[in-house]
């Protein structure tokens, strides 16, 4: 039985679209987990949902206009919304969770309305379902999508590594960081852009509705046992990649939706790590 499963997996791994999915999925998981740490610590966990819903409505507009590659419309629009949400600071009239909620539900409703009225294909519900839940999106990437995904992921990774110290300072005490000479305005803007890029990429992997889980769970799992920012970041990255790869392999073997399987893996790992953290804390007492 085991030999059959491994043999089947080996045969599946020879498919080019599976290899593309694993490459893109690994990089997306890595980027999402790295940026998830400052998001969770700054209490912006739900921003993934807001931005993904904006991306969904822009995708709807792009589909209606028959754009062959919607990334050139979706990415700038999502970046603009991310900047508006994260960069406004204390001067905004509508703050934090209210702004995210407004944007999230408003975008989803408008996107669904536009698609239902001007659907470009006969399988309207299927297109919507696939985009929202990411059932097979990662396995149907074109070559251009994969190259773009890899390029953007590398940019996000390099930016995070280069500006790690400033992101760290911004996450824990923005006022102190500003007083220390860190250009908080610029780095808030950079963080917003990076988050928007990662959200748009992650929609291919887990869909628009499940993105928050993809961003949050690895961080919370890592925080259950790790105490420093660096250890949380590294552990979260490893867990996210592990869950993404394992989730994808399980989904292609068992015939389950990819996005849901990855999130289910994240939940399982979170429960395990919470238990480990609980027993470690008990032992110290």
């Amino acid at each position: 039985m085991e030999e059959g499963v491994f043999q089947t997996l080996g045969q599946y791994l020879a498919f080019p679209f599976v290899q593309n999915a694993l490459v893109a999925g690994t990089l997306i998981a890595l980027c999402a987990s790295l940026l998830g740490v400052p998001l969770v610590l700054r209490r912006f966990s739900y921003i993934g949902d807001g931005l993904s819903h904006v991306a969904f409505s822009v995708m709807a507009v792009a589909a209606i206009f028959g754009l062959s590659n919607n990334m050139f419309l979706v990415l700038p629009a999502t970046i603009i919304c991310a900047v508006l949400l994260l960069h406004g600071g204390e001067k905004r009239k509508i703050k934090g969770d209210a702004a995210i909620a407004m944007l999230a539900v408003g975008s989803l409703a408008v996107g669904y309305l536009l698609l239902s009225k001007f659907s470009p294909s006969a399988n309207f519900s299927g297109d919507v379902c696939g985009t929202l839940f990411g059932s097979t999106s990662i396995l149907t990437l074109s070559k251009t999508d994969v190259i773009l995904c890899v390029a953007l992921s590398v940019v996000v990774l390099l930016a995070f590594v280069f500006f790690y110290n400033r992101i760290f300072a911004l996450t824990f005490d923005e006022t102190f960081a500003q007083a220390s000479g860190v250009r908080t305005g610029f780095f808030n803007l950079l963080l917003a852009v990076l988050i928007a890029v990662v959200i748009v990429l992650a929609m291919n992997l887990v869909g628009a509705l499940l993105i928050s889980a993809f961003v949050i769970f690895p961080v919370l799992s890592a925080m259950a046992i790790c105490k420093s920012f660096l250890s949380v970041t590294i552990t979260s990255a490893c867990l996210s990649v592990f869950c993404a790869v394992t989730g994808m392999l399980i989904s292609i073997l068992a015939g389950t939706p990819v996005g849901s399987t990855i999130v289910a893996m994240n939940i399982a790992v979170f429960l395990v790590f919470r238990l480990i953290g609980f027993f470690c804390a008990e032992k110290k007492l």
Partner: protein, 162 residues
């Protein structure tokens, strides 16, 4: 420490680029190696199966069908075995005359997305007596035909029910 991580990330990203850029060859799932078709071939009896969709999981078969429909010219001439729901519709031939068409509908894991591949039988079968019930599960073996002038037109010809 930063230099160490940076060098590893750069190496990793080059590795990913190399892996992605090298992936250009369609893979035949069956153990046998099929001859690459250079042009449309005359109809022939389907012998060995080059693309066996019946052995894949629901997620894989949907993705592979999407791949086939997106890159039809790479599969032209290859023998396929596919399993899905039987569907039929009435279309028009080149002369505008009504003609019945047959499809094998393949759904994804959530059953909300579906793709269909049109197939034509090798033998002349009478409708509806020689055909299965609509929406029943069928297995068809045939040969891919991709219209070189319109790559979105893909049909399985010389189909045989299994």
């Amino acid at each position: 420490m930063k230099t160490f991580f940076l060098s590893r990330f750069v190496w990793f990203s080059f590795l990913m680029f190399g892996l992605v850029l090298n992936l250009d060859v369609p893979f035949s799932f069956a153990a046998e190696t099929a001859a690459p078709p250079a042009a449309v071939q005359k109809p022939a009896k389907p012998a060995k199966v080059d693309v066996d969709l019946s052995r894949l999981s629901a997620t894989m078969v949907y993705a592979e069908v999407f791949n086939i429909l997106s890159n039809g010219y790479k599969y032209d001439g290859k023998t396929v075995r596919m399993r899905g729901a039987f569907s039929t519709s009435v279309g028009e031939d080149d002369d505008g005359q009504p003609v019945r068409k047959f499809h094998c509908i393949i759904r994804d894991a959530t059953a909300c997305c579906a793709q269909g591949i049109e197939f034509a039988m090798r033998d002349k079968l009478a409708w509806p007596t020689d055909f299965p019930k609509t929406n029943s599960t069928i297995t068809v073996v045939g040969r891919f035909y991709c219209d070189m002038h319109d790559a979105s037109v893909i049909t399985v010809v010389d189909g045989v029910f299994e």
